[in-house]
Symmetry: C2
Subunit: 433 residues, 2 copies
């Protein structure tokens, strides 16, 4: 990806960061880069994610997937980092695939049933993903899916691929039934695992080019260097950090392509779970151009000066003409294409924020394909790791999630947890209809 | 809807609002209510939206829709307030309908084409919605859709319903072709129009109960009174305002049902466009339970103390058992249903935020049906109008959106606009791969 931070400069926006401040910050970037490079070299927890372009083996993924390569649909059973990376890739490239990718990343019973009822299970494959093999939502859904296959008379053991850690219930299961299985790589937190088997099993079943994904990521990795002025990922990470320090506590990720909507979801997890700790961290907001111009733009342009808008420009794409019309007031549309309208709206929205002194950054892809997606995923991960160094937080942990997991388990009778008892003590002030 | 603001009290959370502060604020609520009541009585711009439960005529909508009542799919061509209200209703109730509701609320050419290519246009109806009849995205898409019908040999004039203002290109078109048409009600901004023809044409084509929608809204209207302690909508509006004043500049709307995901999108427009002005206004964030527990909860619980989480509890729903398993560590799941797991996760997450002193509010529905949805839509609109009074902003305008509209038009050769010239003057600081 290329990055343009011009509209985040103090000469344009408030909050904004001056060129001189960026140059001072660049000394911290150099130190952070040394730390990151060392972490990668020593295969340290988290930093190891940035080695995935070299480490992931597409042949192993292809071999595991081979028995279900002809599936019409793939149900990925996973949640959070076990679903969002894969969903980002397959949703971005869905136009290129004949295989429908479904993500069971929620336990809403009506919604789960609606998917299982409509799919032709005989031609559907299952991709179950959980490092621990004990994630409540994933395991509950997997039990439900397996049962639905059995009820439909389909042998799920012929149609299931497992991606999990070295041990745990899912590893035991895959051993017992001799299922094709892959490993969640050590040292790689879920939200950084898109470029491993976690994200790439679904990509392979949907027929996408795994090598190109990894090559795009590798090209981005090549740019990692000691200066934000030479590395798009660091330019983005350092700018978002500097803007947060100056009051932009919100980061709205706004791609101008429907195909990249899930990429904004993926980014939201990456940013929130990695940086949201110690009372620090920007709050990511998922937006979509042009749609949200008619929903969020009023706020972005005239609300509190607490946000940065990150545009993602998708580059070249198939286009479609707008038919001519004899209505005077609309004639200008008939001279254009939908793509030209989309591009004009993007440039207009970006300029509209700049004209109001609202900071924004542009991430540019050349097109939405495997190579560019690999670069985007890797680039944003590297940006996040850099930002984590600058904030000096523990980027690769997510301790605040544990409390609710224990409480849930306790509430369902899965053991004694004091957290479950706290649930009953809720303070209420009810106003009823 | 019922509202529980207990976890937003200062005794639980920081930021939080004390009971005594709420009682003082209630004097402002009483004054604001007088203003709202007067606005409704005098049919003033914006306030008129709160009269829709009495004003909307379901018979007129049914009559207009009758020619396409048997459609297999309905394409709604509209954007922002012309799409989100309808989408909220039909997506919430999609399980009850055999008609697929598609919303062309973006001009992404590949995405528009993918819908038009897959739909059976002969059995598809068109619902085009724009008050002015000149909204660029909507009119461009309508020209494209019309052309696709013609290319497929389908007479679009037999299958199109128009909802627009008294005058403009869409009104002219519907007169010329004698199309069934409805009026965007005067005095009702798009984002407040879900309970008019704007939101209800799609609901009717999909077979939903318009009377129940309006009755649910009317029941909510009955609760409007001079005290936040007696009116759920005002309790919500006043609490969010008080929390924003105390530092919670972000409001994450987190329903625990996939069917309510669009309701969070609709809320985000309502909140952002109505309150985001004069450097004021909370930033709405769209979240989803349980999915975002594995994405956003770390940030919500341990990040900056700048946010309120609004849970929406969907109430009764169809359930599905989790099959038993002989894996010890997962046995507790087999004793539960997916619905029980979902409910336990909701309670655990709510308690987890409270235990960390993070403010949250609960909106409760009895179930997801027309009556409860009507109440939710109306209740949140009334909450927004109240909040607008407390902020003393112009709730019903969205002036900051105009700049980009002019720039877009200028860029496409639709006239001379100085805004278009500003686009070329962009400040760049590019970092390239």
């Amino acid at each position: 990806m290329n990055v343009d931070i011009g509209n985040a400069l103090a000469s344009v926006a408030s909050p904004g960061v001056s060129r001189a401040s960026l140059e001072r910050l660049d000394e911290q970037v150099a130190d952070a880069h040394d730390r990151i490079e060392q972490g990668m070299k020593n295969h340290e927890h988290g930093y190891e994610a940035l080695n995935l372009p070299q480490r992931t083996d597409p042949d192993a993924i292809r071999a595991a997937v081979e028995p279900v390569a002809d599936a019409d649909a793939l149900i990925t059973v996973g949640i959070g980092g076990s679903a969002l990376g894969a969903a980002t890739i397959t949703n971005a490239l869905a136009d290129e695939s004949d295989t429908e990718a479904v993500y069971l990343d929620n336990v809403d019973p009506e919604w789960v049933s609606s998917h299982l009822d409509r799919l032709d299970l005989e031609n559907t494959a299952i991709n179950v993903v959980s490092r621990s093999g004990t994630t409540a939502e994933t395991l509950a859904n997997f039990l439900v899916v397996r049962d639905a296959f059995e009820s439909a008379g389909v042998d799920w053991t012929e149609r299931t691929i497992v991606t999990t850690g070295d041990a745990g219930p899912l590893r035991d299961l895959s051993d017992r039934h001799d299922l094709p299985s892959l490993k969640v790589p050590d040292g790689v937190p879920g939200r950084f695992s898109a470029l491993s088997a976690v994200g790439m099993v679904a990509a392979e079943v949907c027929g996408h080019d795994l090598e190109a994904l990894l090559e795009g990521a590798a090209a981005e990795a090549e740019t990692l260097s000691g200066s934000l002025f030479e590395c798009p990922a660091y330019a983005y990470g350092a700018t978002t950090y500097a803007l947060d320090q100056r009051g932009a506590g919100i980061n709205a990720m706004m791609p101008y392509a429907e195909s990249l909507e899930t990429a904004a979801e993926w980014f939201a997890q990456l940013w929130a779970e990695s940086l949201g700790k110690d009372d620090l961290g920007q709050t990511p907001v998922r937006a979509l151009g042009v749609t949200d111009q008619h929903s969020q733009l009023q706020l972005y342009r005239a609300g509190p000066r607490d946000k940065l808008v990150t545009f993602v420009s998708p580059g070249e794409a198939a286009d479609r003409s707008i038919p001519a019309t004899d209505v005077d007031d609309l004639a200008y549309l008939g001279d254009a294409t939908l793509g030209e309208l989309l591009e004009a709206e993007f440039e207009a929205t970006e300029a509209s924020l700049a004209a109001a002194g609202r900071p924004n950054v542009r991430l540019e892809l050349e097109r939405v394909d495997e190579y560019e997606l690999g670069g985007l995923l890797y680039g944003l991960e590297a940006a996040c790791v850099l930002a984590g160094e600058l904030y000096a937080v523990n980027t690769f942990e997510q301790p605040a999630v544990e409390w609710a997991k224990k409480a849930t388990r306790g509430l369902l009778g899965g053991g004694e947890f004091e957290e479950a008892e706290a649930v009953a003590e809720k303070t209420s002030l009810r106003v009823e209809r």
